[in-house]
Symmetry: C2
Subunit: 344 residues, 2 copies
Amino acid sequence: MKKRRITLKDLANELNLAPSTISRAIANHPAISEATKKIVNQKAKELGFIPNSIASSFRKKKTTSLGIIVPRIDIHFHSLVISGIEEFAYKASYNVTIFQSKDSLDRELEIVRILQTKMVDGIIACLSLETDNYEHFKKLEVPVVFYDRVPENYEASKVVINDFESAIKATEHLISIGCKRIAHIAGNPATSIFKARLEGYKAALTKNNLPIKHNLIEYTKELSYEEGVKCAKRFLKLQGKPDGIFCANDYTAVSALQVFKKANYEIPKDVAVIGFSNYPISKIIEPKITTVNDRAFEMGQAAANLLIRQIEEKNEIISSETIVLETQLIIRKSTKKNIHTNTP
Amino acid sequence: MKKRRITLKDLANELNLAPSTISRAIANHPAISEATKKIVNQKAKELGFIPNSIASSFRKKKTTSLGIIVPRIDIHFHSLVISGIEEFAYKASYNVTIFQSKDSLDRELEIVRILQTKMVDGIIACLSLETDNYEHFKKLEVPVVFYDRVPENYEASKVVINDFESAIKATEHLISIGCKRIAHIAGNPATSIFKARLEGYKAALTKNNLPIKHNLIEYTKELSYEEGVKCAKRFLKLQGKPDGIFCANDYTAVSALQVFKKANYEIPKDVAVIGFSNYPISKIIEPKITTVNDRAFEMGQAAANLLIRQIEEKNEIISSETIVLETQLIIRKSTKKNIHTNTP
DNA sequence: ACATTAAATGCAAACGTTTGCATAAGTTTT
DNA sequence: AAAACTTATGCAAACGTTTGCATTTAATGT
């Protein structure tokens, strides 16, 4: 004989009040006198009343929970974004339900279908690599905010960094320390952010009257460490070797650094290396790697903020909004050519 | 005028059937004829019926969702565990709601309170560093499974690795390659897992007739890279320097490796280094670090599996269960003293 | 003293699904 | 052909909270 949970009605009976009064008292409704609120809350504590939030959600048609779709949780970037989302959501009394698309469109479709069943008040999503149309998101009745990998040619709320400008900044930093032959390890250009980084790289060269040499650009499928090693080795075989390498992420930057180091090139003297994303490894590896802080945590916070604002928006005038976060270049030893450092 | 969502009743009216029949048809109940099931499903698709899972949860008193409490999402270990949980839960049609305790007991208490309101069918938790009693978990009416940092002297379901045995294995590996003066960089012994690693280290020494030297053991608060550097530097100042170092995690292993390398010691010739957890960095850094695979992903899967089994358990005979996962030593260059490698 | 207003509480329906039990129709057994 | 099942469907209540509206009581104004 397991004991039933205490409900509003139990409290009402106990106190000879209407359930509605109890409900309002606990919700701190202004129409209820302070006196009754006090009694109710006291009795609630005494009987160990725990509100049934499912019943509440059901009645109010509001779950105060957000659905998050990420490619994979165990990628550091995404775990930081999720952390930012959770942090903001928690303070706003929302909770966060997570799904991994595993970069599969099929799975993304199924997740969206699950979320359709109305368990969340809003959705934050980073598109899977396979996603090339957004019909499934159109069907959703709740607001959606995309981050990082966002839909193109489709009106939606988004939180992104300015990859193009950031890539220019990074490339120009290499130029500013005297690099003339700057190489680039690129991600898959089918993904907009990697394309933007590539374009930024090219734009910086052009802007500074440096030629774009196609053998100084190497493409990867997924910017893995192993792919980075291959790319760097190809650079190493070139006649005119690069004196600076801008890598589209930090893993490939580590690869480049190690390959050139092993071939007895000095970093940054012979070749400077710059990465992207500020992964933990970038400040541990020797020499520490200059990189672009991609603001993952802040991106999560901004996305949650934007989404919750949209959920709670009274005036439904704004249909979509795009937030572009400012990145910053974190300059470390791998590009400190001209600077004598005496730090221990 | 926003359109209302299609409900079971709408379908029922449309088809001149009772809502109960619709409900059963969609749930594929055996009492419903195949013919009606067909009509119902067809009509459901036609009208775009999406079941309201909140209503269902409310009625069934079952949410098919799990609550996860982790210290921080952006710690690689935990993100791997979460990934394992999500993976298993997804296949079992559960979804996963995440909370970060930020290693704060207060926050853990509040999260438990939130989860109390019955939005989850079960909970997976890694205790916060501050947690020293488990009263708040006792109040929960749903099954709880702990992982990694688990309660002591308290009956509960747990998923852990055998830290003690793993530490013995790691230390004996150092001994097997000829190390005589083995140091240890330890975590905070207040945390059971770090204490177990320390004890395993000591046990291995004793078992192999090596003395336990207290200046060869350095303690850290949180096993950070920076702390690791400090510990390693202290080892470097010793008269009898270590010829092998067993570190309680990979970050401190990287520190040790770099500090000794910088001081012109060769790894592993002069000093061998072994880490713990198999972080990505361990196989990227030069030389790659021998480490203990802590099975984070599998730990998540096992926890989810155990929890869901407990949720769905018909016979409530088993009140708690502990799963100990087998670790494995991943041997890499940082301990390959006697082996000539010709790998490129 | 009576009308008006304000403050506090109660009533009852509603949210969309599920489920035990009843019922109707059809089938088999005797 | 009646009795006993089987099969398929319907009825109606229930889950616990919230909310618009009605009602009661108290307070204020004239």
